[in-house]
Amino acid sequence: MCLAIPALVVELLPNDMARIDLDGVRKDISLALVEDVAVGDYVIVHVGYALQKLDPDEAAETLALFAELGKAA
């Protein structure tokens, strides 16, 4: 519902902030709502806050599900 975008954490900043990168666009956002975020993690960003870490293994599994051919016609 609310516009949120997965972005790469490129730098941890003081005051519970982080710099994120989305294809070259940089923004400083708040980590107040998440824990144990490290540089190199992907987070879901909404209105200036990270809401959740993105799990790369689950992402890969989901993509694999999309590609499954399923039953033959």
């Binding site: 519902m1 516009l3 975008i5 294809d23 666009v25």
Partner: protein
């Protein structure tokens, strides 16, 4: 014997000085501003004559006249400024009519207190853009408004050009079967401006694509392709331009989303702000609509030109009494690309 006395005239303080009301009053201060700043930078025989109008040599052929006001804020942005933007904008309007740009006129509305250093930057940028385009700024005007009544500087440019024999380009000439071409990536200018305003930062900033396109247009006209419409997608973006043409020509337009070039960082900035690149302003791109059979040839010519390196065929003109611009999305479904509603506001929720 008397010695002739010459009054000492304090030179313009182009480092620390500011525009004052006297610079617009028609007296010595204004003459100095025009002479030392504008005429010095634009530097051509027409201006040197010092008249209120430029006497132009006879020109044969159909003339095109165009006019634009420029109110961009911020005045200076990555890739350009209000000065070169105003030259490019008017040169492009002439080029979109198939005209070779001949002369420009420029009028300035300056706000009291505007720094002369900034004005110098802008004027020199205009001069440079005009020289590169080969189009002199032959006459102009200057007015000053009180502090608070103007946004620094507003520039209005007028241009005149001449159209080649046998060429007619107009928004009502698109026909079913025509192909739609775009000269390059969408959204660079608008996002360069908006990112600066919205405080987005970048590892490599988005740079405005502001450029004069008459060279590209000349190459396109030279290749003999049957060109029907040329237009530059400025305010309101590609979507607005195509909707205008569809309405003028009473046709529909069908686009392929996957064919439309957008720089990844521009796409990302749009994603961040909840904006659609189809509606973002461009200042160095054009849309061309040509007879279907000439599209590949035209594309090759565009791609060979420095300003058309990312050119692409993005769609076709179709029969449609309702004049919709439709698009096949990259997912394979269909949607319309509608007129813009109001101003595009960043979407949050």
């Amino acid at each position: 014997m008397s010695t002739k006395r010459t009054a000492y005239v304090r030179p313009l303080d182009l480092k620390q000085g500011r525009i004052e009301m006297s610079h617009g009053a028609g007296g010595r201060a204004m003459a100095q501003l025009i002479g030392d700043l504008f005429a010095a930078a634009f530097d051509n025989p027409f201006l040197a004559q010092g008249n209120d109008g430029a006497l132009l040599p006879p020109t044969s052929g159909r003339l095109v006249l165009t006019c634009d006001a420029h109110v961009v804020s911020p005045l200076f942005f990555a890739g350009g400024d209000i000065g070169c933007l105003s030259v490019h904008g008017t040169v492009n309007d002439l080029a979109m009519m198939g005209a070779q740009p001949l002369y420009l006129a420029a009028s300035f509305i300056l706000e009291e207190g505007f720094p002369l250093a900034d004005l110098k930057r802008i004027v020199e940028s205009m001069a440079h853009a005009a020289r590169e385009a080969g189009v002199p700024i032959v006459t102009g005007d200057t007015k000053v408004v009180e502090r608070g009544k103007g946004d620094g500087v507003f520039i209005t440019t007028t241009g005149v050009g001449v159209v080649r024999e046998g060429i007619t380009l107009s928004g009502d000439l698109a026909r079913p079967g025509d192909k739609v071409l775009l000269s390059g990536t969408l959204g660079d200018h608008g996002m360069a401006i908006l990112s600066q305003r919205e405080g987005l930062s970048f590892d490599a900033p988005i740079v405005s694509d502001t450029a004069a396109l008459h060279g590209l247009v000349a190459a396109m006209l030279d290749c003999g392709a049957d060109l029907h419409v040329l237009r530059d997608p400025t305010r309101g973006g590609l979507a607005t331009t195509l909707n205008e043409i569809a309405q003028q020509s009473h046709v529909g337009i069908s686009l392929m989303e996957a064919a439309i070039p957008v720089n990844p960082v521009v796409a990302a900035a749009c994603e961040f702000l909840g904006l659609d690149p189809l509606y973002i302003a461009n200042e160095g791109k054009l849309v061309a609509i040509c007879a279907g059979q000439d599209a590949e040839r035209l594309l090759a010519v565009m791609r060979a030109h420095p300003q058309g390196g990312r050119a692409a065929i993005i769609g076709a003109v179709i029969e449609d009494a309702l004049g919709f611009v439709q698009m096949t999305t990259r997912l394979g479904g269909r949607r319309i690309v509608d007129w813009l509603t109001g101003e595009q506001l960043p979407r949050i929720c």
